[in-house]
Amino acid sequence: MASSGTLTHLFFIVAIFSSSSFNVFSDSGADRVSELLDLQSRSTSGVIHLDDDSVSRFLTSAKTPRPYSLVIFFDAVQLHDKHELHLQELRNEFAIVTNSFITNNQDPSSPSHAKIFFCDIEFKESQTSFSLFGVNALPHIRLIGPNHGLKNSDQMDQGDFARLAESMAEFIESKTKLSIGPIHRPPILSKKQLIFATIAWLIWMPFLIKKILSGKTLLHDPKIWLSGAVFIYFFSVSGAMHNIIRKMPMFLADRGDPSKLIFFYQGSGMQLGAEGFAIGFLYTIVGLLLALVTRVLIKVRNVTVQRLVMIFALFVSFWAVKKVVYLDNWKTGYGVHAFWPSSWS
């Protein structure tokens, strides 16, 4: 009994000692961790929003080594509409990493619990922090480890977020030696939606088959097929596939004069979106007009209408062909020429 009593005493003493030492530290350590955890739980995505004050609270004024690492995503709302930066996309991926980390390390006993916090900073409201970190280009993601100052912390390279959430996680894991765990992506369709769709499809199936058998669907209307075919033709010859695969913008701003827009790009290897659609339209319109004249107009009884429409069609077709030839020569720089007998010139 006595021995056990001393043991309990000892335990108490140790406990008091440790807690007091903890308290001394708490101003820079445990308090901040719990504060961060609190902020994290309040944020819907798990990403803590930082501003100039909180940066100084959690980073500059906190003594190293800090008991946590911060991963900061530098965001700028005014640049969200610049799609070539992929800011929003990366922000979403960042949130996915955050969520995955939080769900994988919920258990307080796990070694990575509350060791990494994911934060973001908005440019407009925290310009001083941006300059503190020396950030002058976006996208920018930075990992501030327990011993790091602001400027010597690790920056994620382009390559590290190229493969999105997975590569971000790899980067963080390699730098902090903490585990993030598997990435949980939200499924495109939730399970309920999927089941609902299947059931709806199954119910709809017999009706569909019946309709097909009786021949009363849209599929039996040649006009639908016709417009579909012409549309696919238009879509393909306009080079829309090129625009999708290469993610070309519709137009560019002129470098010399930003208020001007460039719609046509010189050089045959590349095209802009609007340019493609314009030419695709020219390609298609001539054939459509020809079909209009030979198929529809011929049934019109009024000769004047026929004449006027034909003149209009001829004029437009001639203009379209001429325009395409001109633009093609301008864009590719080819000089197509005939081979006349040399005595003619």
Binding site: W225, L226, S236, H242, I245, V286, R307
Partner: protein
């Protein structure tokens, strides 16, 4: 007008029309052949580029050793030390075709060389292809459209680019096979004849022999069949056209060694089997419908539907399980990148990097199909009124091919025939309408107008000729079908009636005279522009053989024949069994022209092997020597354009060597060769770049040419001008320095005395050698 004329006049006119179109077809054939001869006239009768050299070599082997040897040929001249089984890995169609032509000519005592036959195979087959286009379009819309389409196809630039004289590649015969298969399918569909169905399967077999693109056929035809079924156009003719093709075609396809069991195992072919099942179910439904009364049929439908649904579900489940068990879902990377265009750019850099796999921009369409791009929509609309089985097929063909061509510029080749057919239909229809308007409104006799419009009047008379023909086919059809398609018989009759009525009405349907004349003039102008463009494309854009180069400068024409000079040097000055290392681009040419063993070639089947050569080229001299020596390489060949300004040389391809090498051997890192992300070879270049083998072999002694070592391709002075080679010695450099050949120095000998001896022996054989010999560690 047929109604007004006597029957005798009609037959005479028909006969005249037939003879006329026969001569037009011959002329079209001549046109198709001769427009492709620019390369022979401007250069010489020579095989082009890279892949054709391999085909040429295979053909040579075939004609020398016969078909059985060819089938079992194991080639030890390439991919040393692995070798390559040629018989089982090539599409033999082209080779067998050219071999047969050669054999036929020789047995007729016409002694042409194999090379000549190979050079002219492609132009001959383009003539065949235009005739096949005539047949196909005639089945769809009549003789007039057929002739126009054939004439357009004879000179469509997209096809010319792959079939000029000398470009002896698979596509040359495959496009003919493709069109001819489609023609036979349509013919079977129109006639319901088993004879044509069998021919169709054989044509399909020829296509499978010739080109990997046969998967397009085996997916397009099932799609069309499905479309017909879904839109309620099922008929017994459809069944005859499709079922034998699947059964016979698949059996025949699996006879081709390179396809083999792929014909039943890969997902590319599953669509055809699925549709095969569906068409049987549908055929059964139609049969029962014919046998049972209306009421009984309704009962049967519910029964069959539930039963068929179960069977279908089971089959689909099996298919899905089969497909899902393979990693890429059973589809090859290229096919997947067609279905999901962004697939390749995301996952397969090797496919994405090849220039012919890029998505085209709009100028590509104008370059490759020119004014046809304007006419196609009119053709599509013409095919929809009236919509027949045949015309729905060509619409499907153009829609799929135009989509595919939008994904990969290479598939423009498949689009070209479809575009020609559509434009042919559109043009001939427009001419028909306009000439008719002129003919019936022109004061004076109709004979006068006929002379006026010349060729077009013959076209004008042809559609009716075609109507007569379809009449005939319908007649033969009516005898054929049994009880099964009692219902179907109603359809053609219903289609027939309005067409007769519309023929009578046609006379009244005219457009204003002067506007028609202007329209015809503009259409002719459009056609003339097409001809000018095609001739220009054939003469200027697509005729360069790339083995012989020319350049025009102020002092006249320069010819660079360095490649053949180098290959001839190799074949005359090296041992038969010596191994030559070069970047893979030159593998086929080296084996075909120099007859020497190469390490890698254009059949890029082994990435590691290519990476080894890439690593050697990017390593410093000593490491490279060790790699090459381990592969028994005696000579290294590099292509260098810096002196004459030939841009596609090895220095420009060098980053790919680094990338591919680094992909397998991680100690090669691309950033080591780049200065601040830029690829440069001047004094700012990185030391790794300046010390790698490719740099040294390319620029060795380059400073001696002009004293400054100015590279005309990179437009800069090179970084390191004076250096010696330690492990390689220069043995040959061609006239314009475009090809440089180096020999690996023999390994260092451990005994001093012997080294001296060999040194005294070797000294003085070439002046270059003695210069570099001084600091050589091996001596």
């Amino acid at each position: 007008m047929a109604a007004l004329e006597t029957s005798r006049g009609t037959t005479l006119r028909n006969a005249f029309g037939n003879v006329f179109s026969f001569f037009i077809l011959i002329l079209i054939g001549v046109l198709a052949f001769s427009i492709r001869l620019f390369s022979v006239i401007k250069y010489e009768s020579v095989i082009h580029e890279f892949d054709p050299y391999f085909n040429y070599r295979v053909t040579q082997f075939l004609t020398k050793s016969g078909i059985y040897e060819f089938w079992n040929w194991f080639d030890d001249r390439t991919w040393y030390p692995l070798g390559r089984v040629i018989g089982g890995t090539v599409y033999p169609g082209l080779t067998l075709t050219a071999g047969t032509i050669w054999w036929l000519l020789n047995s007729l005592n016409i002694p042409l060389s194999v090379e000549t036959v190979c050079v002219f195979t492609a132009p001959i087959f383009s003539a065949f292809a235009s005739w096949a286009t005539y047949l196909l379009t005639k089945e769809v819309k009549g003789t007039g459209a057929g002739l126009t389409a054939a004439a357009l196809l004879a000179m469509v630039p997209s096809y010319i680019s792959r079939s000029v004289a000398g470009s002896y590649d698979n596509e040359a015969v495959a496009i003919f096979a493709l069109i001819f298969t489609f023609y036979l399918y349509i013919k079977t569909l129109n006639t319901g004849s088993l004879f044509y169905a069998t021919l169709n399967a054989i044509a399909y077999f020829y296509m499978v022999c010739s080109w990997g693109g046969y998967t397009f056929i085996i997916n397009l035809i099932p799609m069309h069949v499905l479309l017909c079924i879904v839109t309620g156009r099922y008929s017994s003719r459809l069944y005859v056209a499709y079922a034998p093709l699947v059964v016979l075609g698949t059996l025949l396809a699996s006879l081709v060694p390179v396809v083999g069991f792929n014909a039943v195992m890969t997902s590319e072919h599953f669509a055809s089997f699925l549709v095969f099942i569906i068409i049987h179910v549908v055929a059964l439904v139609y049969y029962i419908k014919g046998v049972l009364s209306e009421k009984m049929f309704k009962v049967a439908v519910t029964l069959i539907l539930s039963l068929g649904a179960i069977v279908c579900c089971a089959v689909i489940a099996v298919l899905i399980a089969l497909v899902a068990s393979s990693p890429t879902m059973g589809w090859s990377g290229r096919s997947l990148s067609l279905l999901d265009p962004t697939y390749a750019s995301k996952y397969i850099p090797i496919i994405a990097s090849v220039s012919e796999h890029q998505p085209p921009t709009w100028p590509s369409y104008f370059m490759d199909i020119n004014v046809l791009a304007f006419l196609v929509p009119a053709g599509i609309i013409a095919c929809f009124s009236p919509l027949s089985d045949a015309s729905s097929f060509v619409v499907l063909y153009i829609v799929t091919s135009v989509y595919f061509s939008g994904v990969m510029v290479r598939l423009m080749l498949v689009l070209a025939p479809a575009a020609c057919i559509m434009s042919g239909i559109a043009l001939s229809e427009a001419f028909e309408v306009f000439t008719r308007s002129i003919k019936f409104q022109l004061p004076g006799s109709s004979v006068h107008s006929q002379v006026d419009v010349g060729v077009k009047s013959s076209e004008n008379s042809l559609p009716q000729n075609d109507v007569a023909k379809t009449d005939k086919t319908e007649d033969t059809l009516k005898e054929r079908p049994s009880r099964k398609n009692r219902k179907k018989e109603k359809e053609p009759v219903a289609v027939e009636k309005p067409s007769v009525r519309s023929k009578i009405e046609k006379k009244l349907l005219v457009l204003p005279l002067e506007a028609s004349i202007i329209s015809i003039f503009l259409l002719v102008l459009l056609g003339a522009f097409y001809v000018v463009h095609c001739v220009w494309a054939a003469a200027e854009a697509y005729s360069a053989p790339s083995i012989v180069l020319t350049s025009h400068s102020h002092d006249g024409l320069h010819v660079f024949d360095d490649f053949r000079e180098a290959y001839a040097w190799l074949s005359h000055n090296t041992e038969v069994d010596d191994k030559v290392a070069s970047w893979w681009d030159y593998g086929y040419q080296t084996t075909a022209m120099a007859n020497r063993t190469v390490i890698v070639d254009n059949n890029t089947w082994n990435n590691t092997h290519i990476a080894t050569v890439g690593t050697a080229m990017s390593s410093p001299e000593k490491a490279a020597w060790e790699i090459f020596n381990s592969l028994d390489v005696k000579y290294v060949l590099v292509v260098f354009g810096g002196l004459v300004g030939y841009p596609s040389d090895d220095i420009n391809k060098f980053l790919w060597m680094v990338r591919i090498g680094g992909g397998v051997f991680p100690h090669i890192k691309e950033p080591d060769y780049l200065k601040d992300g830029q690829y440069r070879i001047d004094s700012e270049a990185t030391p790794t770049m300046l010390n790698c083998l490719m740099y040294k072999l390319s620029y060795y002694r380059f400073v001696e040419t002009d004293g400054k070592a100015f590279d005309r391709v990179r437009r800069t002075e090179i970084g390191k001008k004076h250096f010696k080679l330690t492990h390689f010695e220069e043995v040959f450099t061609t006239h314009h320095w475009m090809v440089r050949i180096y020999k690996l120095k023999p390994p260092k000998n451990r005994i001093r005395g012997k080294t001296k001896k060999s040194k005294s022996k070797s000294s003085g054989t070439t002046t270059k050698r003695s210069r570099s010999g001084k600091k050589n560690p091996w001596h």
